[in-house]
Amino acid sequence: MRDGTYKPLSEDIRKERAKTLVNVLIKENIDFATGVPCAVQKFIIGEIENSRILHVPSVREGEAVGIAAGASLAGRKVVAYMQNSGFLNSIHDINSLLISYHIPVLFLVTWRGAPGEDAVHHLQDGKMFLKVLMEMEVPFFVLSPHNIEKGVKWCIRKMTKKEIPAVVVIKRGVF
């Protein structure tokens, strides 16, 4: 938001959107999840936990990249959720393991530090996040309330076709 605040979303809307997103994952045969929690993705992670997706939470994002790589090599269709703080922390692992070996993983990454952020320690991460994704040459899609299904499907299609990671960007105020 331009004025530096987010419109607070009701829990019902957040739950409904999380359900929409996770339903797409299931329809697209995602069957393994790992990651590190983010408050913005609270309901998404809850939906994953209550679905038939095998969920193996990790203690750090780099570790999640490793678990995701293993599961993907073993034939699973994998989602890894985290905040951009942890994604940026794991860039080398993503570059050297997932991108270099052509291991597809779908990332759900919260874009903290986006315009309107009130937690100042996220601002530097937020400023560089999309630029980093562009430099990494990974497909990414910033979700808005009306294109959740389209964005997630697009990322899964790209990731499968190119055998590389793709990033669904989750914004505060949308989830």
């Binding site: 750090r60 780099g62 570790e63 293993g70 993907s72 090599l73 073993a74 034939g75 070996y101 052509h102």
Partner: protein, 187 residues
């Protein structure tokens, strides 16, 4: 005990339904010289992630024995990963740490490993069987036992510093991933 002796022994004794994940640096390069892509995933880069990749495979392919091989420097880099292994306890994971108390690939700087009883911590974190070995015959006994009895098993192998340095590097990493993926597909 020399690094190469242990690696040769692993490849000699491992069963048909096993894969080896080896860490970046001299260990992985020496494994690559010994077996190339034959049921061997040489993890170039992403230092520390051997146990995590192994966990991701082991949980999804319970009939495959996953052998993770890394050094003391490598395991210290992703020690938190052992927590997740200990919680999920994959029976088909054998975790081998070649401990020379140094970062040998980068020039032999000391690690903290002499101050940390790695096998004790692995035990506390939930590995089923943990041990330390000082001779090749001890290692072979423990390794064979792990294959038969299951785990997760943690074997710290105390080795000498040094060894061959002129070792090959893979050029086509996708080929390595494809080869492992194809093997795993059959299980």
């Amino acid at each position: 005990m020399k690094r190469r002796e242990v690696l040769e022994s692993i490849f000699k004794l491992r069963p048909e339904n096993s894969i080896v994940i080896s860490t970046t640096g001299l260990i992985g390069r020496e494994c690559f010289e010994l077996v190339k892509n034959d049921r061997h995933f040489y993890m170039a880069g992403s230092m520390g992630l051997v146990s995590s990749i192994a966990l991701g495979i082991a949980l999804n392919k319970p009939r495959v024995i996953v052998i993770g091989v890394e050094g003391d420097g490598s395991i210290l880099m992703n020690f938190g990963g052992l927590i997740t292994v200990g919680v999920w306890k994959p029976k088909n994971f054998i975790h081998i740490v070649l401990d020379n108390s140094s970062y040998d690939s980068t020039g032999g700087m000391k690690t903290y490993s002499p101050k940390v009883k790695l096998e004790h911590i692995a035990k506390v974190l939930g590995y089923e069987h943990t041990t330390v070995v000082y001779t090749l015959s001890e290692f072979e006994t423990e390794f064979k036992k792990s294959i038969e009895e299951g785990g997760p098993v943690f074997i710290r192998v105390v080795i000498e510093k040094g060894g061959k340095r002129n070792l090959p590097r893979p050029k086509n990493l996708k080929e390595i991933a494809d080869s492992i993926r194809n093997f795993l597909q059959r299980w």
